[in-house]
């Protein structure tokens, strides 16, 4: 399964969120074959991920791709990410 974290520029916030996503996946006991990558919004559509993650400003754009999206209010909040990730992965029957 592929997760893609996006931000407007692809070199700042998306990378920081990617680090947190990897830690969160471990915390919630997700399968180890899930890959996480980061990119800017422009490249997101061509990436073909199974799940997209972005902050609330970017989320509407990500939603136009038509795949599941997690929207974050606070990029630094581990709890928010873990909760949303766990819920979404359960919805997608990955955990």
């Amino acid at each position: 399964m592929k997760i893609l974290v996006c931000c407007g520029s692809g070199l700042g916030s998306s990378f920081m969120i990617e680090m947190n996503v990897e830690a969160a996946l471990k915390s919630i006991g997700a399968p180890s074959d899930i890959t996480v990558d980061h990119s800017d919004l422009g490249s997101a559509k061509g990436y073909f991920a199974d799940l997209y993650i972005g902050t609330r400003d970017i989320a509407p754009e990500l939603e136009t791709i038509g795949k599941p999206v997690i929207s974050l209010d606070n990029m630094l909040d581990k709890k928010e990410l873990e909760t949303k990730l766990e819920n979404k992965l359960k919805e997608m029957n990955v955990i």
Binding site: D57, D73, L76
Partner: protein, 147 residues
């Protein structure tokens, strides 16, 4: 890596700004002074805000001001500025902003280690509060020692 980059000359505290654009401008000042960025870098950041909204306000009270390397970065750098009074950027949940982090990345990867180190400081609440409200820039520089 970040230890070397956060020195007193890139930290400014209790700066007074009239609005968010001025906060972005002031945040970039150390990078401008050191010749790390061109004039067009600030324009690119402001354009990002216009086109993509307030996504750079990454957490309550924190803005990570940045654009792409090709928008005018000459050398990689980070500057830290906190504001005398919080300023609204128009973000639904994360206003007002107290901490302005200005990042100049010279390519897509060389700054990632630095961001990793910055992240671990930002994730600790008491250190984040120091960054947002501390008047003494030495104390802010000290946060990044032995990261």
């Amino acid at each position: 890596m970040i230890e070397k980059m956060i020195t007193k000359d890139v930290v400014r505290t209790q700066i007074s700004c009239a609005d968010w654009k001025e906060a972005i401008h002031e945040g970039l000042e150390p990078l401008r002074n050191k010749g790390y960025i061109t004039e067009s870098y600030e324009e690119a950041i402001l354009k990002n805000f216009e086109e993509m909204g307030t996504y750079m306000v990454i957490a309550p009270g924190v803005v990570l001001s940045h654009a792409r390397p090709e928008d005018g970065v000459l050398k990689m750098g980070l500057s830290i500025m906190n504001l005398l009074e919080g300023i609204n950027f128009g973000h639904e949940t994360n206003d007002p902003v107290h901490l302005v982090l200005s990042l100049a990345a010279s390519d897509n990867t060389s700054h990632l280690e630095m961001l990793r180190e910055l992240m671990s400081v930002l994730m600790e609440e008491d250190k984040l509060n120091t960054l947002k409200f501390e008047k003494d820039s030495e104390r802010i520089v000290a946060l990044f020692k032995n990261q």
